[in-house]
């Protein structure tokens, strides 16, 4: 409760400073919160904001879910077969620090324009955290669980699905959490290339139309959705930790 109150005070302070600062400058260069909120409502009322958000969310969901599933499946494989991982590890370590944006020319070349480039960029941004956290988690599964699996004569596949995956899930969820953040950050970049819709497109469109108020409305929307996504996954993570009984981990 106290934390919520402090947060609210901080927000009000920011809005006040922003409004005061905006009074000093031309609104074409730096619109204040009042104008931005008004423009946001305009965009909302004519339905375009809802449309952009919807489009972005669908692209994000596809890119993120594909990254999560392939990251978990590959990570389980690499974590289980350590020797294979030793071959792939250096390759992954070289690919991982490359910003997804660097791939844009190739992405356009291979996938054209439209929905797919954005999805691919979100995928690239989300994939590595999931892959690496899964690989590490599977390698660190408590030996006693594997003994239990042997004890009850579980098959290899059963051991992976019934023991290894759930045992490493708390750690995998940390990777999923990280991935949702980076994935969302790169959504804008993905939608700046050749998209005709979405929040990233709205930013380019606002620039082309010289509408800084729309621009800030889009930026605020991205920030707020990012916050909500983070809260959502934090909540899911917490449920997992509660269920797994790992109370010692607190997300800060």
């Amino acid at each position: 409760m106290k934390r919520t109150l402090s947060g609210a005070v901080g927000l009000v302070a920011l809005l006040t400073i922003w409004q005061l600062a905006a009074l000093k400058y031309n609104s074409v260069l730096f619109p204040g919160p009042y104008e931005v909120i008004k423009s946001w409502l305009d965009l909302f009322n004519d339905g375009s904001m809802t449309q952009h958000v919807k489009t972005s969310m669908v692209r994000f969901a596809i890119g993120y879910i594909v990254a999560a599933i392939s990251g978990i499946v590959l990570g389980m494989f690499f974590g289980w077969f350590k020797k294979v991982w030793n071959f792939f590890n250096p390759v992954i370590q070289i690919l991982r620090p490359i910003s997804p944006i660097a791939w844009i020319p190739f992405i356009v070349l291979w996938f054209g324009i439209g929905d797919i480039p954005a999805v691919v960029i979100i995928f690239l941004a989300s994939f590595y955290p999931v892959l690496l956290s899964t690989t590490a988690a599977v390698g660190r599964v408590d030996k006693i669980y594997l003994k239990v699996a042997q004890n009850f004569a579980l098959t290899r596949f059963e051991t992976l699905t019934k023991i290894v995956l759930p045992a490493s899930f708390p750690q995998i969820s940390t990777g999923l959490h990280q991935a949702i953040g980076t994935g969302w950050v790169f959504l804008v970049a993905g939608e700046m290339i050749g998209s005709q819709s979405g929040l990233g497109f709205l930013i380019i469109d606002s620039r082309n139309n010289l509408r800084p108020d729309w621009l800030l409305a889009a930026i605020l929307t991205i920030g707020i959705i990012g916050l909500l996504l983070d809260e959502l996954i934090k909540w899911i993570e917490k449920q997992i930790y509660i269920k797994w009984g790992a109370t010692e981990k607190h997300e800060g």
Partner: protein, 256 residues
Amino acid sequence: MYIEVKNVSKNFKQHGQTFKALSDVSLNIGKGEFLCLLGPSGCGKTTLLNAIAGFDKISSGIIKIDGQEVIGPSARNTTLFQNYGLLPWRTVQSNVELGLESQKLTKSERREISDKYINLVGLDAFKKNHPHQLSGGMQQRVAIARALAVNPEILFMDEPFGALDVITRANMQDEIIRIWQEFKKTIIFVTHDIEEAVYLADRVVIMAPNPGRIKAVVTVNLGRGRDREGEDFFSIRDNILDIFEMKSHDAIEYFV
């Protein structure tokens, strides 16, 4: 004999040095027997248990159960671990059902079996709970129910009550005796607690370290419902202390 351990040795390589965990161990165990492996740390009692259970490969010798050589873990035997090995993401009920899931049983048959064994260990009220919500003693009860649910012939127990407080431990000892008498399983029980061994076992196998070997086998000729404070209880305990050469020389701890 039901279980035959013949001239078994087990070597570990550690830092380039060979370490003899078991040296020429031979032992016969009868069906339905309650056998305790007793000894200090490093005497190879857990290694011997793991070898009979099929978790560890032996360096030489042979182990047979019911005439068949042990080459790996078998679904016919189950092991109980000191830290229980319960799956924290499963409820008590579905933990107990783990071993049943690979058998050809319908869901309601599984439910029936797990209900029976949860009832047996007195945890009816906790079926829907997760392991971390239970005390250590209750968690080990869940592990016992899970082990019994697959109807094993042999129960291997690796210091199963080592992490429990004295009172809970005494209760669990009575409980395991009751279960053993009711289901007539063969139990091989590893412990470093002399009184626990005397209280539970038909025979106590006393082991010594460097290299791990059997020093003596003591038959406990006491009826069931043993008196922990009885004259004959103490005399067997003293006998074992003598074998460990730990009596009266110095008053060192007898469990290491």
